[in-house]
Amino acid sequence: MIVQTTRFGELDIPDEKIIHFPYGIPGFTHLRKWCLLNPENVLSLNWIQAMEDGSIALIIADPEALFQNYDVSVDARELSPIGVDPDALGEDEPQVVMRVVLSADATTGELHANLRAPLLINLKTCLGMQLPLVRCNYSIRHPVPMKKREDVGDMASPPKGKRSSDASTSV
C-alpha cells in the first residue's frame, strides 16, 4: 500500500506490515491502518504513521526504556480485540509489544508519555489497540525525564517556565 506522507514522502508498505486498529486510535478513530517506522540513529522510539492520512504520525516509545519501573498488568481477556486468545496462551506465544504515545509541550518542549493508555500491538496478527489501564495510577501525561540535559551541561540554569498544574492532570 502506497501512502504520500508529509514527513517521509512516499512510502510503500507491504500489506503484511500494516497494523490494523479495528477501532482506530481515540482522536483518530476513522484511521484504521497504520505502520511502524524506525527513525534512523534513534533509540527506543518509533513513528506510527497513518496509512489513510499522510499527515498523521505519532512518536511512540518503549515504556520500559524510558521508565525502568513501569509495571503494568494487562488481563489476557483485554487483548481479545487484537487477536490474543486467552485460552490458548500456553501453546501460542503472543507477540504483543507495548508502546506509549509521546507528546511535547508546544512552549517548553517538555515531553510527556501517555502511561495510562499504552498502545498494544500484536505483531503476529498485525492488530493494534489503545488500552486504558484500569488498575493503575499512571498519568495520561507523565513527564519524561530529559536525559540529554546533563550532556549539555546547563543543569544549573532554571527550567524554562514551571509546569502549570494542568499539564500533569492525571485521569
Binding site: V42, L43, P86, A104, A106, N114
Partner: protein, 91 residues
C-alpha cells in the same frame, strides 16, 4: 437520542451481543453490568475523551519532532571512536 427508563435488575440489549443491566441505584450513582463480546472495547466516556485529547495533542510540529528525536539519538559513532582511541593511547 433514545431514552429508556429502567429499574434495578432490568436491562437493555444492544444488537444481539451487548447487554447492559442496571445493577443498583444509590442516590446519584448507578451501577451498570455490561456484557459484551471480548473484542468490543468498553470505556468510561471521560477516559475515552482524555485519550482522544491526548492523542490529538501528540501530533508534533516538525521543529519539535526534530528535537525529540535528537534527545533519543544513539551515541554518535565519532565520539566512540575517539574514546576508543584515547583508551588505546592510555595502554
Amino acid at each position: 437520542m433514545l431514552i429508556l427508563t429502567r429499574k434495578p435488575g432490568e436491562a437493555i440489549r444492544i444488537g444481539n451481543d451487548v447487554l447492559i443491566t442496571v445493577k443498583a441505584v444509590n442516590g446519584r450513582q448507578v451501577r451498570l453490568g455490561i456484557e459484551a463480546p471480548n473484542d468490543i472495547p468498553v470505556y468510561r466516556e471521560e477516559i475515552f475523551e482524555a485519550m482522544t485529547q491526548a492523542n490529538r495533542e501528540s501530533l508534533m510540529p516538525e521543529s519539535v519532532t526534530q528535537s525529540v528525536l535528537e534527545m533519543f539519538a544513539k551515541p554518535a559513532p565519532k565520539r566512540n571512536e575517539d574514546s576508543e582511541k584515547s583508551q588505546e593511547g592510555n595502554r
